[in-house]
């Protein structure tokens, strides 16, 4: 019996130990994190866009973090003017930090590419704007109709990429996703309260 106790209690102890260090302690330490005043709380449309960002798996190719300039060139390459800090993410649940840069980082994509129409066309067919892109198009975020009806917003698509007949209508979803992307602007200075000083990388 003692062997079993060593096994089960030892196994529990190691995993709970890690749980305390990596989950419970940070939870307690980051609980008093305040949102920087310049960071806008996402609106309803942006939240819908964020949901679409999640459900269509954008995180599998795009990160949302600017790393420390000491050992990376993220800032040099224009991904942001400073490394990202925990306070930048207080409204994020779940997080969308990402692990792959098959596509570029999007932490400041709203600052870098503020053009709404560019994003709409890019989502419909990335290669219409960026010939070397390997990003998939998301035509299912748009509506394909024979003719535009009253109140429909038609997407202007260059010739080779446009459907042979009918028009492509900008849907509520596509607009929400673009609104979310444009809302990704973190170019304000890093918040520097005492609580944050400690945890900055």
């Amino acid at each position: 019996m003692t062997r079993i106790l060593v096994l089960i209690m030892g196994a529990m102890a190691t995993v709970i130990f890690a749980l305390v260090i990596l989950v419970i302690l940070p939870n307690s330490m980051l609980s008093d994190l305040k949102a920087p005043p310049q960071l806008k709380q996402p609106g309803q449309q942006e939240l819908l866009g964020r949901q679409l960002y999640i459900s269509n798996g954008c995180i599998y190719c795009h990160t949302q973090q600017v790393r420390d300039p000491v050992f990376t060139t993220d800032i040099h390459k224009g991904l942001g003017n400073r490394p990202s800090v925990p306070a930048d993410y207080v409204y994020d649940a779940p997080h969308l930090l990402g692990t792959m840069r098959t596509g570029p980082d999007l932490f400041n994509v709203g600052t870098r590419l503020p053009d709404r129409n560019w994003h709409l066309l890019h989502l419909y067919q990335p290669r219409a704007l960026v010939p070397w892109s390997i990003m998939p198009g998301f035509p299912f975020l748009f509506e394909h109709k024979p003719t535009a009806e009253a109140g429909d917003k038609v997407l202007d698509i260059p010739k080779p990429y446009a459907p042979s007949e009918g028009v492509v209508i900008i849907s509520k979803e596509a607009e929400a996703l673009v609104a979310y992307l444009i809302s990704l602007q973190h170019n304000y200075p890093a918040p520097d309260s005492d609580a944050l000083e400690e945890v900055q990388p």
Binding site: I4, L22, P26, I54, L97, T99, G137
Partner: protein
């Protein structure tokens, strides 16, 4: 220290020290048969998931080469197919096969028939239903949005927890009813994996994390799913298969315990090395890098132990495909762990982070180690449970060569592509286009290897079908790699 354990003569007399008395082959066969139902069910479901996951993986890979392939439907978009591939392979193929492996190992190691076998059957079915629901929801666009934890926390995850708990209950009940004094090292690994998995899976799926904390929990889970679930049960299997087939006890029992506890202690802390340079408190990342480097202790302990068991007898691989695969898997475990330690170093990580190198690394772990170990396990377990032998050595040979060769090509191609991509992402003068174009040819090579591996899976599935559902008798006179010239062994003096 005086203890009540030794000072209880009644107990001493009542339990025969079975570790001294060898079990008879007939008894072993009875233990195998006691778990027949859940073991066969688990392997059957696992192979079905393997084929589904293969299609999903191939499709994800082809989409890199032809980004306009199948983009019209939302459920076929890359961002849904890729996580579906991961979840099907991890929870469908590997985990279900691991259920069977543990339900087959425990009776043999505890020298008692499997307890609560029907509960395990229900557990496997509940797990499978949960996963099916989760994958369907994921493809429909309802996922939790956390890598490795995509399955819906409302509809899918509770079923997975219940299913794993039922299988775990059967494992632990068998352990509690054991007829042996000593716990063989595989028991440690297999039995501990179930509570570990339940704890990390529940902790990872809690809905109240926000911001960077959500990232910390995400990678705490994702790394431990590998370290405290997939790795442990497969190490348990390898620790059983290597000595058993070679016919030599494990080199050092103590070393295997060092490996077990070292893994439990250090692996659990590794997760944050997926977020190096990220917006987390730096002490967390530093902790994980340190723990990652400490992993060298259990990894080297396991590596030495398994190598010393097999050393001088690599020729046995000619006689047993199970051993061939187990040895490759064991070597891959050492390789992938050392690669992981290397990748956790900041100087390497600055290049390889965010690149296809990570994907190559995870396939070295999840395929060359976990999947090959499970294939090896199936080659060993299925004939014993079914009391039939594998019908064709040609198919065994084709399977092993296709999946082994295909995966080596996969890892090498994507590893090179990842480093080139990473150097390009880091080079101050280069635009983003360079990182895409430098990886492109290697991604194409990856798709080629994906096709080769898929062919291997088809061969395996067909062969497993022949074994299980037909009564074709084998005319085999020699094992599949018998003709292969031994490279690593001295010539046998007749």
């Amino acid at each position: 220290m005086s203890t009540p354990v030794t000072s209880n003569p009644a107990q001493e007399e009542s339990t025969v020290d079975h570790s001294k008395i060898k079990v008879s082959p007939e008894e072993m066969e009875a233990y195998d048969q006691s778990g027949r139902k859940p073991v066969l069910l688990g392997f059957f479901i696992a192979v079905v998931w393997l084929l589904i996951g293969t299609v999903l993986g191939d499709l994800s890979s082809f989409k890199f080469d032809r980004p306009d392939l199948l983009t019209e439907q939302a459920y076929l978009t890359f961002g849904r197919i890729r996580p579906a591939h991961l979840n099907v392979m991890v929870y469908g193929w590997a985990s279900t096969a691991m259920f069977s492996v543990s339900l087959w190992l425990m009776p043999r190691l505890c020298r008692t028939p499997l307890r609560w076998g029907n509960l395990a059957v229900i557990g496997i079915l509940v797990w499978t239903v949960g996963l099916g629901v989760g994958i369907a929801l994921l493809l429909a666009g309802h996922g939790d949005g956390l890598e490795w934890l995509e399955l819906d926390r409302q509809w899918a995850d509770p079923l997975l927890v219940i299913g794993a708990a039922m299988v775990g209950a059967s494992v632990w009940k068998t352990l509690a009813a054991r007829n042996v004094h000593h716990l063989y090292v595989s028991i440690w690994y297999v039995a501990a994996s179930y509570p570990w998995f339940l704890i990390i899976f529940l902790a990872g799926n809690m809905p109240f994390y926000k911001g960077v904390e959500s990232a910390a929990v995400n990678w705490f889970y994702a790394h431990n799913a590998l370290g405290l679930w997939l790795t442990t049960i497969n190490l348990g299997l390898i620790y059983y298969l290597l000595p058993k087939i070679i016919g030599r006890p494990i080199y050092s029992y103590w070393l295997s315990l060092v490996g077990f506890w070292g893994l439990a202690l250090f692996y659990a802390l590794n997760g944050m090395h997926h977020l190096i340079g990220g917006p987390l408190p730096s002490w967390m990342i530093a902790t994980s890098i340190t723990a990652s480097i400490m992993m060298i202790v259990p990894v080297v302990a396991v590596g030495i132990n398994q190598h010393m068991t097999v050393v001088g007898r690599f020729g046995a691989m000619r006689y047993s495909p199970a051993l061939t695969l187990a040895v490759i898997a064991a070597m891959s475990y050492t390789a992938v762990s050392l690669q992981g330690i290397l990748t956790a170093l900041v100087s390497v990580n600055r290049i390889t982070h965010f690149t296809h190198w990570t994907i190559a690394h995870s396939h070295l772990g999840l395929y060359m180690f976990v999947t090959l170990s499970l294939f090896g396990g199936m080659y060993y377990i299925l004939p014993r449970v079914l009391k039939k032998e594998w019908p064709s050595r040609r198919l065994v040979r084709a399977h092993i060569l296709l999946v082994g060769g295909g995966m080596v090509l996969y890892i090498v191609a994507l590893g090179i592509g990842g480093v080139l991509q990473g150097l390009s992402l880091l080079a101050p003068g280069e635009g983003f286009e360079a990182s895409v174009s430098s990886a492109k040819p290697w991604l194409l090579l990856r798709s080629v290897s994906a096709v080769i591996i898929s062919a291997g899976h088809l061969v395996f599935a067909y062969h497993a079908y022949l074994l299980a559902f037909t009564s074709r008798n084998s005319l085999t006179r020699h094992p599949p790699f018998y003709e292969l010239k031994p490279v690593l062994v001295k010539k046998r003096v007749p």
